[in-house]
């Protein structure tokens, strides 16, 4: 499996070829508490790195999800419409939010590795 990178806003991304899979970190899912709704993006939507990609609501708060890398939305995790709790159960795997096409791995240099992200979490 390719390496996972993180944003300061607690999104994760894994790039495989020109496709990126995006979600929120386990830390973010835990902090949000029980997630009740995920506003998935439209496929075909083009976003720049750190643009708003999707929305997420929990019993505590409503927040934006930002695109960790630039690209065009090629798939969304439709299953989350009926089962948003999957993000709580498996934020960094089955709870992925969207896939982006046409991404540039060079943008990963603006993100954190898992080790760097773990350090960042300690600083919060």
């Amino acid at each position: 499996m390719s390496e996972t990178y993180f944003t300061k806003e607690h999104e994760w991304v894994r790039i495989d070829g020109s496709t990126a899979t995006v979600g929120i970190s386990e830390h973010a899912a835990h902090e949000l508490g029980d997630i009740t709704f995920i506003e998935l993006p439209q496929t075909g939507k083009t976003v720049k790195q750190f643009d708003v990609l999707a929305g997420i609501e929990s019993v505590k708060a409503a927040s934006d999800i930002y695109a960790p890398v630039s690209g065009t939305v090629s798939a969304v995790n439709d299953g989350l419409n009926d089962a948003p709790e999957v993000v709580n159960e498996s934020a960094e795997d089955a709870g992925w939010i969207a896939k982006l096409e046409g991404v540039d791995a060079a943008e990963l240099s603006n993100l954190m590795t898992r080790a760097q992200y773990d350090e960042y979490l300690k600083s919060l």
Partner: protein, 481 residues
């Protein structure tokens, strides 16, 4: 408790009318008639009175309990204001809009004109529209006025800047009006980071929206500088007046450099809100923005006459039916004139004093992330209690058992396990002391017997609700027709 629909018995009536002794009117065309009964409850008057009386006894309100819900300014609403609103009950809202109708609605128009003047005086603005129906509607109206201003000047603007501690409605209103949002993080003192703000400001920024005091209850000492920086880029400054209760008669946003403000009459000016609403969100502007205000505009046509003006080509148009929530405005007008200048200043002083009293007495027991003199509300964190497995929500539920409405929890978002307390000016010291004692008791329980908090509430008709299930599986219709 049974629903009123479940109490329905076919054929039961509260009132029986005598047989008609006038000719029946012709029946309506069939296509205008319901095809099936509409399913209204059929009950006797006594059933109805008991139902709603019992419902009201389950209600937790300012009239029954202390309600220190931060960011909401749940002050007591003086009952005399209800009588004032009743004085206008006979005026049809359409009247001033009919040809010649203004003559017959002079009192109502004069009240609207005077209220606009009073709110302008309080905020330091040049004109106020009372049309918007609530705070967020006022924000939307304000941002649309800003957008109309930039369009008329040929300005190319894309962004609205908001601090991360702003009310969530600020970025939402700006986005609804077509702008992209730039969010500026708070610095260590809880204010918008001035350096990051400076970096974000370009000529493409249409406006900066500030809530001051902010949602941490802190007054930003740099607001003048922020306005100056924004104006240098021909960006306008928007003041979210939801927290005006802290500053009346002390600071006028218009004097500082703000160009647009909205107010919440249902917070600051003593009119009911929440279920008791409706709200009212007047918007005040500086002179350069007056042409863009909504129509109809209330004007003084002579020394003693008032009228309406609708032909205003630059206006953003109508934002509400008729003149907005008129009854709320009557109450606010009565509130302002009843208290007068000295009274309104005392409101703010007392509101700030009360919040600081609670902060001072509780800061030994709860973490205070931003320790400085607060304004009308104070924000604690339950992070100390979290070490024992107790969350802010558990403390909130414990308070319910002891007869207090919980403070706002989990807001603002930039404080972990936030507990946001706004006592308002209408509470006595003894009420606040009773609340403080229970908060101290809750902090003690967290250390010694956390289960007591995790089990609360025990005295209510229902115990801990499954908020997740309620949000995930919404079933909001009580009867299937």
């Amino acid at each position: 408790m049974e629903l009123i629909f479940e109490k329905s018995v076919t054929g039961r009536r509260g009132v029986r009318l005598p047989a008609s002794d006038v000719p029946r009117a012709a029946a309506l065309p069939a296509n205008l008639l319901h095809s099936a009964p509409v399913g209204l409850p059929e009950v006797a008057e006594l059933d109805l009175v008991r139902h709603f009386t019992n419902l009201s006894r389950r209600n937790f309100s300012v009239d029954t309990n202390f309600y220190p819900l931060g960011s909401c300014t749940m002050k007591y609403n003086v009952k005399a204001l209800e009588n004032a609103a009743g004085l206008f009950a006979g005026v049809h809202p359409m009247l001033p809009l009919l040809p010649g109708g203004e003559t017959h609605a002079q009192g109502a128009l004069e009240m609207l004109f005077e209220l606009g003047g009073l709110l302008s005086e309080i905020t330091g603005m040049d004109e106020v529209t009372t049309q918007p129906l609530a705070g967020a509607h006022g924000e939307m109206t304000g941002v649309m006025i800003i957008a109309a201003y930039h369009r008329a000047r040929g300005n190319k603007k894309r962004y609205v800047v908001v601090p991360d501690s702003s009310h969530g409605t600020n970025p939402a209103s700006a986005a609804m009006a077509g702008y992209e949002i730039i969010t500026i993080p708070s610095d260590t003192s809880g204010d918008m980071d001035l350096e990051l703000f400076r970096q974000a400001m370009t000529d493409e920024v249409a406006a900066v929206m500030m809530t001051c005091p902010n949602t941490l209850g802190l007054f930003n000492p740099h607001i003048k500088e922020i306005c100056d920086i924004a104006h240098a880029h021909d960006a306008l400054c928007y003041y979210d007046g939801a927290n005006l209760n802290a500053i009346m008669g002390k600071v006028r946003p218009g004097d500082v450099g703000f160009d647009v403000i909205h107010l919440n009459l249902h917070k600051t000016f003593g009119t009911p809100h929440g279920g008791g609403g409706p709200g009212s969100g007047p918007v005040g502007v500086k002179e350069a923005l007056i042409p863009y205000l909504p129509v109809p505009r209330i004007v003084k046509t002579s020394e003693v006459d008032f009228g309406i003006e609708t032909d205003r080509p630059l206006s953003i148009g109508r934002t509400a039916n008729f003149f907005g929530n008129f009854g709320v405005m009557v109450k606010a007008y009565a509130y302002i004139t009843m208290l007068g200048r000295a009274g309104l200043i005392q409101v703010s002083e007392q509101a700030v004093l009360n919040a600081n009293y609670i902060m001072a007495r509780l800061k030994g027991y709860y973490d205070l992330p931003f320790e400085q003199t607060c304004m009308h509300e104070c924000v604690f964190s339950a992070s100390r209690q979290l070490k024992h497995g107790v969350h802010a929500i558990d403390i909130a539920k414990f308070l319910i058992d002891r007869g207090f409405h919980p403070p706002t929890v989990y807001f603002p978002l930039n404080v972990k396990e936030a507990i946001m307390i706004e006592p308002t000016e209408t509470e006595s010291k003894s009420t606040m002391d009773a609340f403080i004692d229970v908060m101290i008791e809750a902090a003690g329980q967290a250390g010694h017997n956390p289960q007591a908090l995790l089990d609360a509430p025990l005295t209510m008709p229902v115990s801990r609700l499954d908020e997740t299930k309620a949000a995930r599986e919404q079933h909001v219709c009580c009867v299937d027709y």
